[in-house]
Amino acid sequence: MARAVTPRRKLVNTGLAWAVGLLIFFPILWTILTSFKTEGQAIASPPIFLGFDWTLENYSVVMERSDYGRFLMNSIIIAGGSTILGLIVAVPAAWSMAFVPSQRTKDILLWMLSTKMLPAVGVLYPIYLLFIQLGLLDSRAGLVVVMMLINLPIIVWMLYTYFREIPGEILEAARMDGATLKEEVLYILTPMAIPGIASTMLLNFILAWNEAFWTLNLTAVDAAPLTAFIASYSSPEGLFFAKLSAASTMAIAPILILGWFSQKQLVRGLTFGAVK
């Protein structure tokens, strides 16, 4: 039986949730505020929260110095491409592991996850040499493949978890009605797992968007995404925090907007099957 929640407890919980939410959001808020300050105001001590002369100069400088559109397009292509490629590979893999598991399925799943524990820099040189041989350096195609590969274990794990929540009897019934394997996956399994697939897509897109090791090391001009755009404003010898904040705000704005509009799906997907 569910325990009754008193109005006072509800108020406390809501207050706590807001406090934690604001705490998590504060660095982003501070970055956005700093982007509207002058360089002098950005380093002022004590820090100025709102009482400063708001300026758009940093955005103007950043737009003048960098081709933001090119970086943005590369980010969309790399994150979008790797997400869709990842799903194409991961849906059949997760279906197989969820509905026709072998004795080694658990081991394979754990092994896949263990590849995420390898420090990326450990395989930088092999991948770099491979990219030179294949002519993939500074290409979006190369980045799409690498992003897909590094996020694949997470996609497979998430989809496997969602698929496991779908009763196998439904798929059996479809088979008895004459559904082929393709029809079973496309018309029965996929529609039932849409919340899970949607949240997997969103999470993978965000992970690929924010990835900064491979995108910085495998690109130069043509394929450089927004992570390289931000890195170009970081300086150890010179105070350019306001411009860096403007560049960061411009880089995270698309993903923030995407997250804002899809938060219901994201939450629904992430909690799918969590409570029975």
Binding site: I78, I84, L87, A141, S232, L239
Partner: protein
């Protein structure tokens, strides 16, 4: 079903973008990897002049210093050919030149006047007498101090002060109630941050990284004296949390009037005297970095230079760019557009003979600091390495990063000087043994 439609739309969009990913083209212009600092940004803004003169266009890859270092190192060691020009420093140039990774700049035309490059810079960017990178700008380190606070303390800064004077002056200028710290110095871990400062400082105390047989020297008295002096002075007169302060943190403190003295890169002089950014712009004086009467000062020498990787297919245009960017004509172009205080300093002798530049308040002290630094003779006792704030061997960056982490732990009060030096000795000897030096 709206959710399904959304999913299908997202899938379609992703498919379009994924297919576009396979339609890459290849640029035909010169690609230059560089750092994000004031002089480099100015150069990017003036590139049209180069294009006008030569017809070549330029693509810039601007990265944070440490990211750039990793990026260009990966590319040059694998012959990746991603860049036609790389911005590298005095540490990398002789090592990479010796490895045959850089194209020698030994055929520059007479009008380029290679002899005009300051000898210290030319020496630091050469291997076996061959120039492998052209200095875009050079720097040493010096004292920047508040003339008003010094006067209020009843002291006068000598042109070439000792560490004892600096410590006394720092204590006299410190005013904790008004948030004024007598001295601000780097303490941040990292071989190019706090590691560079303490190594340069240790030279003036008679310390060195290695003896002539590549044995670590952290178990010697000069290193103990260096660290104890630094920690004592900073605890007396330094800012809170100095263990995590690097160039930018100290620049910020100085510009806000919270430091009596700051010993750091000479290029900072243009920042602290710029009234647009600095609240103390009109009361800044300059002096040579301190010494201890042992014949070596505690200033370093560094240059950001332009080099051509051996893997490039555009050697000709790359050389043309280097000639343009490091020429006297370029300096005049910057002066015309941005004023003499903003020209790239520390690279050419003729700049310091120019009457217009001589009027810049920090010009002479910058030159004196650069001229007093000798990478080939940086320590009191003989040492087997070239370099002042570093030893120009490939292993140094890794070792010095670890050692500087131990030193920063001392600054933060997490361990004693003796503990840190014992660890530094072990780390260094172990690494040198593994690398085959011992």
């Amino acid at each position: 079903m709206p959710l399904g439609n959304a999913l299908r739309a997202a899938t379609a969009l992703s498919l379009i973008t994924a297919s576009a990913a396979f339609a890459d083209g290849h640029a035909t212009t010169i690609t230059i990897a560089t750092v994000n600092n004031g002089d480099m940004i100015r150069m990017q803004g003036l590139t049209d002049d180069f294009t006008e003169k030569t017809g070549h266009t330029v693509e810039w890859v601007t990265l944070e210093e440490n990211v750039l270092r990793q990026r260009v190192t990966t590319d040059i060691t694998t012959n990746g050919g991603q860049f036609d020009i790389m911005t590298i420093g005095m540490y990398e140039t002789p090592i990479w030149g010796a490895n045959g990774w850089l194209i020698a700049l030994d055929d520059l035309p007479a009008e380029y006047d290679v002899d005009d490059i300051l000898p210290a810079m030319r020496g630091g960017l050469s291997h076996d007498g061959t120039l492998y990178a052209a200095p875009f700008y050079g720097e040493s380190s010096m004292i920047m101090y508040r003339t008003d606070l010094m006067e209020a303390a009843g002291l006068e800064m000598p042109t070439a002060p000792t560490w004892e004077f600096v410590r006394e002056a720092a204590a006299a200028m410190t005013d904790r109630e008004n948030d004024i710290n007598g001295i601000c110095l780097r303490g941040k871990a990292g071989w190019g941050e706090g590691g560079a400062f303490i190594t340069a400082m240790s030279n003036s105390f008679g310390a060195r990284w290695f003896d002539e047989d590549w044995n670590a020297q952290f178990d010697t008295q000069p290193w103990k004296d260096t660290l104890e002096f630094y920690v004592g002075m900073m605890n007396e007169s330094g800012p809170a949390g100095f263990a995590t302060n690097g160039f930018n943190e100290n620049l910020s403190l100085f510009q806000q009037g919270k430091c009596g003295m700051w010993i750091d890169a000479t290029v900072a002089a243009s920042f602290v005297t710029n009234p647009d950014d600095s609240t103390v712009a009109d009361s800044v004086g300059f002096a040579l970095a301190p010494d201890n009467g042992l014949g070596k000062r505690s200033n370093w020498l560094w240059a950001w230079a332009l080099a051509i990787p051996a893997g490039t297919e555009k050697e000709g245009p790359a050389k043309e760019f280097i000639q343009w960017a490091t020429s006297t004509d370029y300096i005049e172009l910057v002066a015309e557009n941005e004023g003499w205080a903003n020209v790239p300093p520390g690279a050419r002798t003729s700049l310091y003979e120019n009457p217009n530049y001589q009027e810049v308040p920090f010009a002479q002290m910058t030159l004196d600091s650069i001229l007093s630094a000798d990478p080939n003779d940086s320590t009191v006792e003989p040492s087997p390495y070239v370099g002042i704030q570093f030893a120009a061997i490939p292993e140094f960056a890794g070792i010095a990063t670890e050692v500087s982490q131990e030193f920063s732990a001392v600054y933060a009060g997490q361990q004693t000087v003796d503990e840190a030096l014992a660890k530094a000795q072990a780390i260094t000897n172990e690494a040198m043994e593994a690398a085959g030096y011992r």
